[in-house]
């Protein structure tokens, strides 16, 4: 079959189970498509051709023996932030451009234990810091919908590869919007689960109190399959939640009638392009037709989110990235004069401009004399934002907003002004601050570029989010569109 990539995960699993096709055929068709298409979008850093074929063969064997696993033979891609044993793991940085991980992250292990085939590792903003995938040491990624437009970031490679039909789905991470914003810009479904739902073990750290793994897929149903495979308690991550994981796939068909959607007036008084407002209004109408109730909610401190984030994320990043010192692994400068010179030149040469900016801001915010004014102040304001959400969730089940303030933008458009780039995440950051689950799914387009709508729910309500997106997708076809890329 030529158009394997257009099948949903459910359809692929059915075909594999009924021997309509094999995982080897499926995997080879993806590998061929990657060869043909990826040179136009640069979504992969590493393609694992041999390993993929080997695991596809193992999957086919299990199908024959009747011992197939839940995602057996489904070809997926991993964001290059997840450590993969014996495989290059770069995090999009020169600093780790030679790093072959000695172990696998729990997420990677979980997918392998479910039988998934790994096609490769996807491009990303350096250390997940960026909203356009332009900070990658391995080059920018093109949006499959329009060449020379960004796919969003930091999970830009994962988004572009799924959007172009180069993988059934891809893992991703979200510290301030890095799953949801690229989902919106590439016309995909992207879910960031509750903080602690997915293990961070072996997921290279950026800002540890905000980082959370999740998935990018074509549909909410595909996302349910993948999230089910990757979630769960992990004793190797001390912040991993020790709670049961619901069967996201089974629960996706439950009714959404009577669920309440809150519209924060703070988000709806902003000056957004009229096509963004229109797509959101139409999404709200669809949900109302499906039986959801809509009301206004107040999140009085929400406009502090961006300032809070740009203290907390850089502060945590400055601590996490201190490990890159040119001694134990990764890049090391040539002929250091002394230990300080080794550290200082290794980090000057190994990190890109945005990573350095954030380390410097974080170092400043944590330094003697400034800690109270910046870091402590940000932690207090973070509590105010989280409390706003807790209050809102007493009267509604979801907060609805646009995912991003606009459609995708041209490569280079925002690289000269960091703060302008940061505003990309204005709607997504609040959920990270409060640790809440959020989902973005396609709800329209403007001049050939996708638009996304976001729902945020209370802790551990991923199932409800997937259900809402699923029902929306049963009644719309935005998520079924494919870019013309060949």
């Amino acid at each position: 079959m030529e158009e394997f990539y257009k099948l949903s995960i459910k359809e692929k699993l059915k075909g594999l189970k009924e021997s309509a096709f094999s995982s080897l055929e499926l995997t080879e068709s993806y590998l061929q498509r990657i060869k043909k298409v990826d040179k136009k979008i640069n979504s992969f850093i590493t393609v694992l051709e041999d390993k993929a074929i080997e695991s596809a063969r193992e999957s086919d064997k299990r199908y024959k023996e009747g011992s197939a696993l839940p995602l057996d033979g489904i070809p997926i891609a991993h964001k290059d932030i997840f450590c993969t044993e014996g495989i290059l793991t770069t995090c999009g940085s020169k600093m780790l451009s030679n790093f072959v991980s000695p172990y696998s992250s729990t997420v990677v292990k979980n997918f392998s234990a479910n039988g998934s085939v790994i096609l490769g590792k996807t491009n990303m903003d350096e250390f997940a810091m960026g909203s356009s995938n332009e900070t990658s040491y391995f080059g920018a990624v093109n949006n499959p919908w329009k060449r020379n437009y960004v796919p969003g970031g930091s999970s830009g490679g994962s988004a572009a590869c799924v959007s172009a039909g180069l993988a059934s789905g891809a893992t991703a991470t979200d510290t301030g919007g890095s799953i949801r914003q690229p989902a919106a810009l590439c016309g995909l479904t992207g879910i960031k689960p509750t903080y602690g739902r997915v293990s961070r073990y072996g997921m290279i750290a950026f800002a540890s109190s905000l980082d959370q793994g999740g998935v990018l897929t074509k549909s909410a149903e595909d996302a349910a399959y993948m999230l089910k495979a990757m979630s769960g308690h992990d004793p190797r991550d001390s912040t991993s939640l020790n709670v049961d994981v619901p069967d996201f796939v089974d629960e996706i068909n439950e009714d959404i009638k009577g669920l309440r959607i809150g519209l924060p007036k703070q988000f709806f008084s902003m000056n957004l392009p009229n096509y963004v407002e229109k797509s959101i209004d139409e999404s709200i109408k669809i949900f109302e037709k499906l039986g959801a109730q809509v009301e206004d909610v107040d999140l009085p401190h929400i406009d502090l989110s961006l300032p809070i984030y740009y203290v907390i994320a850089p502060a945590e990043c400055s601590a996490n990235l201190s490990r890159y010192d040119g001694v134990k692994f990764g890049y090391r400068c040539e002929d250091p004069n002394n230990l300080d010179d080794l550290y200082m030149r290794t980090r000057e040469e190994g990190f890109g401009a945005e990573v350095k900016r954030r380390i410097l801001i974080g170092t400043y915010a944590l330094s003697a004399g400034y800690y109270d004014a910046y870091y402590l102040k940000a932690q207090k304001c973070r509590r105010l934002v989280a409390d706003d959400f807790s209050k809102a969730f007493k009267s509604v089940d979801f907060i609805l907003s646009p995912t991003a303030p606009d459609t995708s933008f041209s490569l280079g458009d925002k690289t000269s002004d960091p703060v302008e780039m940061y505003k990309q995440d204005i709607f997504t950051i609040p959920a990270n601050l409060a640790g809440l689950p959020g989902i973005s799914f396609p709800c329209g387009e403007h001049q050939g570029l996708p638009l996304g709508v976001q729902l945020v729910a209370d802790n551990l309500n991923e199932s409800k989010l997937l259900r809402m997106a699923h029902y929306f997708q049963l009644n719309t076809d935005w998520h079924e569109a494919w870019p013309e890329i060949e």
Binding site: P102, N338, E348, K356, L360, S367, K380
Partner: protein, 98 residues
């Protein structure tokens, strides 16, 4: 919020990142624009607010004090840029003449 060259030099040293003096003016401008953004927090009174250091209000899980990892030095040192006799090599830190 304005940063002096001296401030920037000190932050860069604390972060152990060498910065070319030529890039000081543009970097200063970028950092100042970020500090200007975060200064918005000053408008709220947070005197009685308990700081939130983490999204989960849970206590650290404890485990038994048992060895769970085996010695894997060779494998873990595969990525070391410079090693000798199982040790990570760095420039000399103690002066022989002292």
């Amino acid at each position: 919020m304005t940063l002096k060259n001296k401030d920037l030099e000190q932050i860069a040293y604390l972060a152990r990142i060498n910065i070319n003096k030529k890039s000081f003016p543009s970097l200063k401008k970028e950092l100042e624009s970020i500090l200007e953004l975060v200064a918005k927090m000053d408008s709220v009174n947070t005197e009685s607010v308990v700081p939130m250091s983490h999204p989960l209000d849970i206590s650290q899980p404890l485990r038994k004090d048992e060895v769970t990892e085996k010695d894997d030095r060779k494998n873990l040192q595969k990525n070391a840029p410079l090693k000798k006799a199982g040790l990570f090599m760095v420039p000399k830190v103690i002066d022989e003449d002292a």
